[in-house]
Amino acid sequence: MQESNVKTTQINPHLEKKFRYPLNGEMVKSFSLPIVILILFLFNSIFTDNFLAATTMWNILLHVSTTALVAIGMTLVIATGGIDLSVGAVMAIGAVVSTFLLDYNIFVIILGTIIICALIGLFNGAIISYIGVQPIVVTLAIMIAGRGIAQVLTDGYLVSFSNPSYEWIGKGKIMEIPVPVILMFLVAITAFIIIRYMTFGRYIEAIGDNEQAAELAGINVKKIKMIVYIAAAVLAALAGMIETARMAAADATRIGELIELDAIAAVVVGGTLMTGGKPFIWGTVFGAILMGIISTTFNMNNIPYSYSLIIKAVIIVGAIYLQRANK
């Protein structure tokens, strides 16, 4: 990522000035997010009471873990040039399905939920790949229908339960670290390894960069796209279970509401191009964390929530500007 790409300048003459500074475009992209996070962190440690307490740290990460998980799936989808609006609805379905399996072993709950949600991803992917409907249309339909189905399944009621082993996924801790945070990092590391070092990752990038050329190079574009939508649905299922376990209740109406938008924002802030191409997994994770820190900063300083929304918007626009400049 840091290789200094001297010739990139020739593509965009307006960038020339930037290159007088030691930071070049690629580096700005890879380091700007951690730097912004660091600045916010320093600001908070000085001005916000109790911010430096370990619990605050874990709380922020806990708070962003589900968004980050969904956003990692979204990163893969966006990298192929697609989009998945159905993730929030899939979370809701996952939450509801998991409550149907409460009588069984925890592994059955997890596996059953994942399989059901994977089928929704498969449906998305199949329609997009084989029938050729635009991703935004298919997943918008599932976003609307999916939440409806989840509500029908629960008759619109909140389903609360008591199941310690399931609740542990949302509430548990290993060595003071919340389980959802561990899951988030495990998934991020796995996704990063796949993207960076495996053929599958190269194929995703190639498809997003030039789908036609990728297909002519013998890549099974349809299959890869299907897998990507399945992955997005599975990660949404995981996020749905975490939220359900944390509340010990499945709320088909509220769970995962608008999470698709936060996830897309995290992806964009993280540097993955909306038009497809190289996916930045850590960028996405940092993007989600950044948004979390902003909310926390505002919360802890008693500044109204609405202001944090405005700041988030400014950050998203800024991130898109950076992407344009570096394209």
């Binding site: 010739k7 290159f19 990038e205 990728a214 013998g218």
Partner: protein, 518 residues
Amino acid sequence: MGTEQLLKMENIVKTFPGVKALKGVELEINKGEVHALMGENGAGKSTLIKILTGVYHHNEGSILLDGQNVTFKTPIEAQLAGISTIYQEVSLIPYLSVTENIFVGREPKTRIGTIDWKKAHKDAAEVLNNMGISIDVKKPVNTYSTALQQMVSIARAISMKAKLVVMDEPTSSLDDKEVEVLFNVIQKLKQENVSIIFVSHRLDEIYKVCDRITILRDGSFVGTWPISELSQNQLIASMIGKSETEAAQLMKMKEAVNKSDEKIVISLKNVKQGTRVTDVSFELRKGEVLGLAGLLGSGRTETAKVIAGVSSPDGGKLTYQENEIQFQSPGHAIKSGVAMCTENRKTEGIIPNMSIRENITLANLKDFSTFGFVSKKKQDKVVNEFIKRMGIKTPNAEQKIKNLSGGNQQKVLLARWLALNPSLLILDEPTRGIDVGAKSEIHSLIDELSKEGLSILLISSEFDELIHNSDRIIVLREGRKIGELTGEKRTQDNIMKVIVENGHSSESYGGEDQYARI
């Protein structure tokens, strides 16, 4: 034609970080002249043009337009000053009408501020009429051929009162007839005292339309000559910086080798596909280079795509290495040893933001990986070998392919297909938009590969290229094979003759009765 000077670019220096792209280049254009700008890829032609049209800004030097010192900060400023550019790939808005494309951004308005369509259509038709073209200006541009679309771009330039039109490889996507139309328009422009900078890699075109020529090499100015004082060999020699005899060597003809007792690698029998391929049959033997000739729309590319598994045939029989087969997908064909280097480098070839290494290894990435993990070490070994063998000019294998010149991109793509170790390689316009140096390198590679036993199906709109590289040439027209030329019969005249003669007969059959000739 006046000799009054329109443009004088003097001592233009342009540096990019790490690269000095232009080292003091001159360019003088007279009014009403067609001026060729030649040079290999990377010689600095595009940089110079981009400076002239306000895309880049020069570090040193001066630009005089009509005696006035100018610098254009943006392409719009250059356009307002009367410099218009016609790009290689037509840059129109496909679904807008011809009129809208000509006047977009400058639509004539009525008194109440709405667009005055009546006047717009009238003006558009008039501009085109003056160029000798009459088409329905209300139709979307994408309903017209590439050539006509290009004419619309030129009409846009003229309607903006351009004094200088820059044409960057305007003929690369045109067929012979369409080139003729373009040349007529160029003559008309000349008569109206409009100057033209003409960039093309096709020497015959340069000699046909240009008055003077300026040659660049490695960012330096080589010289400006009246075209009549520079022979083709001299021109090539000064472009690549070699002696004339060496240049002549590059242009020599291939001696046809009769391969009729070699094993048949692939054979097509009465293959049909859609409307473009109606009846194609041929055999291609081991180590043979088979040329596929025909005008644009004759079904050459479509035939190739059937073989490469991009589209599936509606009828006929395909036999590959003694088995009847139908490739389900490009992936299937690739696995079986059939590789196709497509004609559209940008849209169907390169993965622009990926590195040279990744572009070369993309089609057989599995061979470079174990359990799905890609080994960079294995990749590097093969990639570096290809960079050396193909003479790809790059600091290293990690450069993004989009930063390479067209010729080098093409070499990377060829490397991608050769890395598969195929038994059949289809080359669709392998040297389109590529400079003479890289072109001759690709030609000698074709020769080398066929000697090593690779079978090659070569598609090219340049009959020259077919004759110089193939052992046998097949001529297609309207999706059917209408002739075959071997040995000494492989001449431009013969190819044209086959196309023209058979054209009449197939038209008299109404082009429908496919069995009439069998």
